[in-house]
Amino acid sequence: MTIPLPVFVAIPLVTAFLLPLFGKKGKAAATALANLATLLLLVSAVTLVGQSRVYEIGKWSIPLGINLVLDGLSCLLLLAISVVSCATMLFSVRYMEQYTSKSKYLSLFMLMVAGMNGVVLSGDIFNLFVFLEIASLASYALVGFGCEHEELEASFKYMVLGSIASTFILFGVALVYGNTGSLNMAYISKAIQSSGMNAGLAFALCLFMTGFGLKAALVPFHAWLPDAHPSAPAPISAMLSGVLIKSLGVYALVRIIFNVFGVSVSVSWVLISLGVLSMVIGVFLAVGQWDFKRLLAYHSISQMGYVVLGIGIGALILARGGNIAWASLAILGGLFHLVNHAVFKSLLFLTSGSIQMSTGTRQLKELGGLTEKMPLTRTTCSIASASIAGIPPFNGFWSKLIIVISAVQAGFLSLAAVTVIVSLVTLISFLKIQRYIFLGELPENLQEVKENKGTMAIAMASLACLCVLMGLLLIPSLRESILEPAVTVLTDGMRYSTNIINM
């Protein structure tokens, strides 16, 4: 049966409104309801794979009302969001026992999921701004959940930069409405195709790129990420760097550039430079870190650089009118790395959370020799570090390989060399993690450390085996249904508007 699209936003919203009513005694029921909701979302996301539909809200035709668009790209993002949020919700059932007012935490978590689903599905730029605002407001509050010194300062810094980015995006929306007279993405791209890009729309595009670049923590705007992620509770930093910066930042940037404004050579050069900058600076800043979560946060920046680089190369080939096969290969590498990074980065943050919960610290110097004390965390962490560093059988390797091949194909040998060097440096820093946390001798105050059983183990184990199985996504049968439609959505760029209108 066909699932109506607003279900993806309605379920998390209704659960979010219900959860604060549970209060102290209903905590178990609240957690169960929240887990049920994320599971339901996962099931409905899986059933919708490969379909593409337009859903008009209120039965109003396209320019009048708002329409929700499900095409390859948003379906891929929906899958990533629901997988990561399901695992993180399972993990936080036990991890959040350390904090008070758990039902409010769950409600904010569901609001963040609703905001991200709303952003990924919406076909209207103002609606995209509103749901982006919901997801970021929920994440500001969740970053400051523990109310300690660092967490409050980090959430204030994140909130200031986030609010500036949202005001930039709103200003861009106002400019686009002023110049094209409509808010619907399909109608805007049609107006741009017919009347061409005037200076106002170019200025709006710059505003969008700064705003969404700031949400995606690309280099010139990455100031908030290394502070926000370590101080957030572990499941929240897993959601933040796993999915939030992707769906709010990269997805919106890519959707606006490819489908609404159309790809141009200068824009794709900006994308490539942003990608390379964040790749290089992220990894070199990460090497010197001794705090486990801060190191992971810097790696998020550099891995996001991979994604933006892959998509930027594809955009450049499209803008220059090169052959479509190369461009789709580059974009395939970028998107596949986006999904891989969502899975293994959230797994890494979950393992850091379980280490912090049982040992109480996350400084690499104070840890060591946890192999026999925490076997499950050891295996999941090593699987995730192997896949982030790009060791063959795991999923990180395949996507990095595709990006390197597409860079070589497109003639950017220097870029390919930079990518390989950066992945080597990532490998070094992740070996450092393995060395300091798991090998070496056990410090005396950590003798009675014990493994985290229960839902935390299930969450970590499921993400770990996903890491291993994701490599299979590249075999042709699976690829056609999941990755290929997402790539075709981007490669046929401006024809998006015609597809929407006649769908």
């Binding site: 607003p6 309605a10 859903y55 809200i57 039965k59």
Partner: protein
Amino acid sequence: MKGMTIIVKNISSFVKVLIFLFGIYIILFGHLTPGGGFAGGVIIASSYVLLMLAYGREFAEENLSLSMTSKLDCLGALLFAAVGLFGLFYGAASFFWNFIHQKSWWGEPFNLLSAGTIPLSNIFIGIKVGASLFLVILILSSFRLETSASEKE
């Protein structure tokens, strides 16, 4: 913080009723005259805030307690979502389908019952915005007690 002088207390207890009535008017006639759910809700919240400023937090707490306000807040939001979902399930139409107007059950233009689900959602939005804004002010002022307590010891 025991509220302000007697003059302010007497006036505000009278004026609060008027403000509240004005807020209700703005919400109910939202689809005919300017105003609507948001403006009316904020006006209702400001009537309670006036009470709190004039009489001090404890008096306002008895009038509308913290837990009651947060329940109202969640209830208003749920009812508004229910209006949307009802359109989805009722005529198997779409999310925010104005089923009362489209099916033209009641009301013709220019009188109170005219615009289908619009007055309904106006009322629910009014409850929600009023409750949540009063909740913010209540939380911000109740936090002050805790800091002044810590400053004392």
